[in-house]
């Protein structure tokens, strides 16, 4: 029975982040965490393979102390077990550190026949964890996958590459990243949510992974993060009669030289 590992990130929901117009600083006070949207597609794809092939699914996440809150949501989406690394180092981790931590953990808990990631995380969207993990594990990477099959120990994936698609067939294990259009993640049912409470989770400590300090030191550090402030005219026409609004808009556009 194939053994699948699916990776996910517990991120702040960008819809809840406010930009303070005065100084472009970000206000996270109302922001809640969620499973990164792209990773929901990765999880769903693993579950669909499980349903069609009888695979077992482990999930893994590397995050700050808050990451423990994610376990129930994750398990209700179908995986059999979840490993988590809760460490403040995650808040400063770049792709180099994250891929190194996840690859080391996958090596300890594996081997896996297939490792699935989302195409990027919805917060930082660095789009490098899957291929970097593959490189660390000495496995082929198949990125931007829009359809995925397992056939007698082979992985057959169709990739979406901007101007073309191609089919990649791998003998043996691989790391793949999937694009959102690969599936539509289902909403967990009440039964699944209840079942999640009985599924196992296990903490992995970074210190037990045998990584060197250099492997845990980010190559990229953040200097500033500023909200994008839109500088637009924000002129709103809201008369009850739409004909008036349209006339005003057309006059304004005429002034701009548009029509």
């Amino acid at each position: 029975m194939p053994k699948i590992l699916v990776c996910y990130k517990w991120v702040l929901d960008e819809q809840d982040i406010r930009v303070n117009a005065a100084d472009a600083s970000l206000d996270f006070s109302r922001a809640k965490y969620k499973i990164s949207d792209y990773d929901k597609n990765a999880i769903e794809e693993a579950v669909q393979l499980q349903e069609s092939q009888g695979a077992t699914i482990d999930a893994i996440t590397f995050g700050g102390p808050a990451v423990k809150q994610s376990l129930k949501d994750l398990l209700s989406r179908g995986p059999d077990k979840v490993y988590y690394l809760a460490d403040p180092a995650a808040d400063k981790a770049d792709g180099h550190v994250t891929a190194g931590v996840l690859a080391a953990a996958a090596r300890t808990k594996g081997p896996y026949d297939l490792i699935i990631c989302g195409e990027g995380s919805s917060d930082a969207y660095n789009q490098q964890v899957a291929p970097r993990m593959a490189a660390r594990l000495g496995l082929p990477a198949i990125t931007f996958v829009q359809s995925l099959k397992l056939e007698d120990g082979r992985i057959v994936a169709t990739r979406k590459l901007g101007d073309c698609t191609e089919v990649v067939t791998i003998d043996g294990p691989a790391v793949v990243s999937v694009v959102p259009e690969i599936n539509k993640p289902r909403i967990p049912s009440l039964k699944q949510v209840l079942a999640a409470a009985k599924k196992p989770s296990e903490e992995i400590k970074i210190a037990d992974l045998g990584l060197t300090p250099a492997q845990l030191t980010p190559k990229t550090v953040s200097m500033t993060v500023k909200g994008f402030v839109m500088n637009r005219k924000n002129i709103l026409f809201k008369e009850p009669a739409q004909a008036d609004n349209v006339a005003k808009l057309v006059a304004a556009l005429a002034k701009e030289g548009v029509c």
Binding site: G95, D123, A141, R159, C164, T165, T220, T224, V225, K238
Partner: protein, 308 residues
């Protein structure tokens, strides 16, 4: 640790990287080497200002060149490796970065060397924010297509060196390469855009937007839901951080709420106009002009007005 290396499997993008690379060369004062996979691309890069072009041969899958590129960069002691931010480029960049044990910045918008570090800016949180970051050298950076202008041929005399590489990974087989048929024009280049969102209740109502687009001589764009969930329009028409980035003279939306991931794709528009029934829709914060109203009432009136 010294030089600059650039690579894209897409030659138009490679010439844009050359512009960025030449900018870095001016501060770093180091040679600029380009990697190409086709003879004519190598010649174009050499003519447009690369000091040296390595023409790599021997593999039939661009991603298979990640390892030879990493080896070249290591041998050349490249300090900054710029790679075109196509899907293939991002795959290659991650493997090159790992081969060099280097940091990788994805889709940088600005690139500088300051105090022996690479300083970049890029979008974060779905386009809501801009992050400035510093990366130790050597560093790999991907740059999205059309971020920089193409370097123009300047009668450069760059040397071209052919290099055969060993076979690729025997575990990987690539087949069924299939071009995606573009349906209609490239909206990234459109001068005017009418964009429809989920405020539209059924596919047939696209006719409303099409009439308006005709009156305004505009192309039709859409939000992700219209393309990816409803499949009413082809995916290359959807605008946003994961879709097309557009920069028309006029962008006019009908029933688009203006979530950050969509707005990230329209920010370079000269004039933004929005029609939405919800006065609180975030699109109005991103717009120059807005009409609060039912698009089914407003769109035909606009069409009639523009026809005049």
């Amino acid at each position: 640790m010294s030089g600059i290396l650039i690579f894209s499997e897409n030659n138009a993008t490679a010439l844009e990287l050359l512009t960025a690379g030449l900018g870095l060369k001016a501060t770093m004062n180091q040679p600029l080497c380009a990697v190409a996979l086709a003879e004519e691309d190598a010649a174009a890069l050499a003519a447009a200002g690369a000091d040296k072009v390595i023409l790599l041969k021997g593999r039939d899958w661009p991603e298979g060149y990640a390892q030879p590129i990493a080896e070249l960069a290591a041998k050349d002691l490249a300090a900054v490796i710029l790679i075109g931010g196509t899907a293939r480029g991002k795959d290659i960049a991650a493997k090159v970065a790992d081969g060099l044990d280097a940091g990788l910045v994805t889709e940088a918008q600005t690139i500088e060397i300051v105090d022996d570090k690479l300083q970049t800016t890029r979008l974060k949180y779905g386009g809501l924010a801009v992050a400035s970051e510093a990366t130790v050298l050597p560093a790999v950076v991907t740059v999205a297509p059309r971020t920089f202008d193409k370097a123009t041929a300047a009668g450069g005399q760059g040397q071209i060196i052919s290099l055969d590489t060993a076979d690729g990974d025997p575990r990987v087989k690539v087949s069924d390469l299939c071009p995606i048929e573009r349906q209609g024009v490239d909206i990234a280049a459109a001068a005017r855009i009418v964009c429809v969102g989920r405020g539209l209740s059924q596919k047939e109502d696209l006719a409303l937007a099409e009439d308006l687009a005709k009156a305004l001589t505009a192309e039709i764009g859409c939000t992700r839901g219209i393309a990816e969930d409803y499949h009413w329009l082809p995916v290359e028409r959807y605008i946003g951080i994961s879709g097309q980035k557009v920069k028309p003279e006029v962008y006019l939306s009908l029933g688009v709420s203006g979530q950050v991931q969509h707005v990230a794709g329209i920010r370079d528009s000269k004039i933004i106009v929005a029609v939405d029934s919800n006065e609180k829709a975030p699109i109005f914060e991103a717009a120059d002009y807005g009409i609060v109203g039912d698009l089914y009432e407003v769109a035909p009136l606009l069409t009639a007005a523009f026809k005049k």
